[in-house]
Subunit: 202 residues, 4 copies
DNA sequence: CATGAATGAGTTTTCATTCAT
DNA sequence: CATGAATGAAAACTCATTCAT
């Protein structure tokens, strides 16, 4: 049961499309181009054209191609200020969080496509790696908090390997990013496996 | 508990580096180049140079860049004739299979890096998509067989969503592909969640 | 009796060689190259070099080779805004017109060489064909006007096949284009055959 | 009234298609390729393929591309051993000859297309020029004979400029080569202009 | 005679970037 | 800010030709 009401982080994304200055227009055009053609086919001229300016003018806003890519990366990570619902109990919070992600994968697939391109790129580009890692750490911490709290509240057994569970969630989300049609069922299956009724009895 | 003894499929892969003709040399060079620089920086001249031939001779073996990429794709997928241990009981088979993958991610990370590049590329290139999908379907079927057999043998509850479980496993593996250091703990955590002692009591 | 005073259309052509901007310089260089080596040996690099620019800069002015050829074609056809001397009586007008062409063949043979190359090329290139045909139609009409007027004024017999005569003139001119040394005598011979004193008595 | 019965020279051409050895097959393939794509697009590989051999084997038969072209030229000129009907009176002979050419232009247009390509090429290639000129000289002589005989027999006035008339005929034929649909009416018009009834009275 | 492999010089075209205006 | 012009390095690909087998 996907919730098509975009959450805070998605509204944030949509709001950006209004009142954007030229710099933002370029970042958006670049973002879309990467989503569509990947970095392999990422060229500056079409970006400038999409923003309605000459391709040499683009260099006024971004000195080099790398600078533009950095801006796109920043744009993408800024979209992931996910809202954790701290009022919910841990298991529900995990489910809610994963469902929001699944929804986002369906509603804004390009965001995840570009993220994947950046993830792959991070292997060759240190600065990309740093930014991505920083962003990911926040997520990692939030997930760890859920599990730790759950263990504290005896929702989950003390034997639960928190670090491994966090990485499992992250890996699953990353693996499902490019398959929107399967996102919902996969996160549900994962939540079911983490379901307290089952695990606490173990 | 990583098993550093490469399995059949990995030995196969390693054996390939000996006694290779020119065509294979080119595929290998291309494979390595993609592993290192991704498709973004994938150029033909260095490939030819690495194989010790003139760049125009490369076109004697592969008419176009796309042809070479197709050969790389084939090379990569041919490495994944994973051995399923059908003698083991389902849960152990799943664990064994995932452990082998985790091992492979550590031992031959480039294989998974290139696979990831191809996965991303498949979004823009139909023929890549077809080949990848075909390959993935075999995997999907093998995993489904594990779960179905497990349910039949009452290892897992009849309520287990087989399709979703299969996709969860696949997503997890894909998500962990680029993080070798976390591969083992993540697959173990996933296997634990699928562990019969827990699920059958639910 | 060649008249070496270039007519309006030739002067126009000669004037073009002064004060030309880069685009024109490229068209001129291309024109000369085609005149000298034909399309068979027509390469872009020497054109750029002749215009004193890098060969990549050429693409700034003409996106493709075909674009440059189109510009050459336009340049060539623009040289043929032949002046018909409507004040003369039909037979004299025909003679005058053909003499001007004969003169031009001698004075600017390259123009006719390139035209011939384009004529042959038109067989394989639709857009070239369209432009050439359009240009030729103007000529055809002007010639038809001469003959029709001549018949009206009883200079020529009503039995004169106008269409065939027009085509005969055109064919003759085309056939003589590459033989400047024979141009004068051929057009004179043709005019003599069309000479009224002879034909009206028939 | 075109005569669609091929004359000796055409039958000759058709006979060639039977019992041809590999060398001839290559020449034929080259001829067709030039007819279709001109020298601009004339490549050896497709020729070899059309003859069913490897492209390097082609060099066994023709050391260089130029050698193959020379063979094509020879093939083409060999097709023009036009039969002059010396039994006819001069004017009829001219008409008969031109009609045969007009027919040929319609029946075997490729022959004339290639001839035109060669004509243009002769401007840059001395050996082509020599062969073409030699061939043309035979034609020139035959035409001159017609006119001279005609003058002798008082068919045409002594004032007729034989050389100019010969060139006029040649120019007309060359000019009409690429326009088969107009060939008949043009040669008829030319013959009419040379018609004795008219000219002798002048 | 036939071929597959190899080459080297060359083709058009692209693209990020710079710079003068 | 904005642009058109220019560049240089490089891209993929082509092709006539040679040579060993």
């Amino acid at each position: 049961m996907l919730n098509y009401q975009p959450t805070a982080w998605l509204r944030n994304g949509l709001r950006m499309t209004e009142q954007l200055d030229r710099r933002q227009a370029l970042v958006h055009a670049a973002f879309s181009a990467i989503a569509e053609h990947g970095f392999e086919g990422f060229r500056l001229r079409p970006i400038a054209a999409a923003a309605g300016i000459d391709h040499s003018t683009l260099h006024h806003y971004f000195r080099t191609k790398a600078d533009l890519i950095a801006a796109v990366l920043e744009h993408v990570t800024s979209q992931f200020e996910a809202t954790m619902h701290n009022d919910l109990e841990p298991a529900a919070r995990l489910r809610q969080h994963l469902n929001e992600i699944a929804t986002a994968v369906v509603v804004r697939p390009e965001l995840f496509v570009v993220l994947d391109e950046l993830d792959l790129r991070a292997r060759r580009d240190k600065s990309t790696e740093v930014d991505i890692d920083h962003d990911e750490q926040g997520w990692r911490d939030a997930l760890a908090a859920i599990f730790n709290e759950g263990i504290e509240q005896h929702v989950w057994s003390m034997n639960l390997n928190v670090a491994a569970s966090v990485e499992l969630v992250i890996a699953t989300v990353k693996g499902i990013r490019l398959r929107p049609d399967k996102a919902e069922s996969v996160v549900n299956q994962l939540c079911d496996l983490f379901s307290p009724e089952r695990l606490t009895h173990a």
